[in-house]
Symmetry: C2
Subunit: 209 residues, 2 copies
């Protein structure tokens, strides 16, 4: 079943091979840096076959981009909708984010590049996955009222949480080289610590004590 404009649920083996190869290449090299020939080679097929299933580079990229979020967004959405205290929710979000990014460390740069190229796309993708800014800010406002927390605007808290989770992966190789001078042991230990460290850092900052 060819892709072109209509989405299909059952993907052939070849389509899966193409998507997997395209994901790998696009994420590492970006839209401009990726080569259709390279994607075909990675998938072990002829280049024309890539065009046969996905028509052109842009359409293939879109397919990869939306596929990447189909697994992750429902997880985040689930945590956001759950009825737990704000601090627990923060811990859960940070955990999910860092877990996911440890498995997909190249994703932040991939996504952020696409955000700057087309800011509406991800915003719409979030909304179509039931993630609405008003829901989140509203929940945070309630959470801040109910317990003894410092006043902080929800928008800043959201951006701070995302910053602390996402940025280190975007700057990963730099941190490795500059901060740990290539010592992979210390470097990996650092990234393993971040889940609890970031949670603690945020909670400390907003809890009155």
């Amino acid at each position: 079943m060819i892709y072109h404009d209509i989405k299909s649920d059952s993907l052939s083996e070849t389509e899966l091979k193409i998507l997997s190869a395209a994901r790998k290449i696009f994420i590492r090299k970006g839209l401009d840096g990726a080569r259709m020939q390279e994607i075909a080679n990675e998938a072990g097929i002829n280049k024309a076959l890539v065009h046969y299933y996905f028509r052109n580079k842009q359409k293939l990229f879109e397919a990869v981009f939306t596929e990447v979020f189909r697994n992750f967004l429902p997880q985040i959405s689930g945590v956001l909708k759950s009825e737990i205290p704000l601090t627990d929710k923060i811990e859960a979000i940070v955990g999910k984010y860092i877990d996911f990014l440890q498995k997909n460390p190249y994703l932040p740069m991939f996504v952020m590049n696409e955000i700057n190229r087309n800011p509406d796309k991800l915003a719409n993708l979030l909304k179509s996955n039931g993630i609405e800014p008003e829901d989140i800010t509203g929940q945070i406002k309630n959470g801040l009222d109910n317990i003894e927390l410092r006043d902080i605007k929800p928008e800043h808290l959201i951006v701070n949480i995302l910053s602390l989770c996402i940025f280190p992966f975007a700057a990963k190789s730099m941190i490795e080289k500059f901060l740990f001078k290539g010592d992979l042991k210390k470097f990996n230990a650092f990234f393993n610590e971040r889940k609890s460290e970031v949670t603690r850092f945020i909670i400390n900052s907003i809890v009155k004590q």
Copy 2:
């Protein structure tokens, strides 16, 4: 005076026009996305002239990249070396960073893309500007000992500070669209608040009280 391999202090008007045009194009479109013809057009000159002064695309990119940091790094270096309490130092660093990035909002993505392409380059550039990881971690360790601060590994504190300062600019357009739905008034107010907000967020998190 042509560039090629030897750096020169006195740059001709044409060289400055090229560098300025290249900065604009490279920062917006990246190394792969930028076109030499586009840079020449932006500078209002012939494409061959760009090659005459900077030989090739890679060399021109390097020139732009290093030039970008020649203004900024000395500022950071100055603050780091100053003998002031850790909390004041954090406030100064956050201030310098956010001030600089408000004037150069496209820079984070530009730099982060290059970091992932060539992690050593920026690490070396930092060191050649007298910014050494041991100095910074050492200073933070001392700062944490001297006053009543929570224990936090210096590496985490450094990465947290950079995350909170840099990431929001990399995700700027996304924040505008999703969080503020294109309301530029609220959006600008948000970014103006961040300098004090980020400082407060970090200090709150590390000060015992």
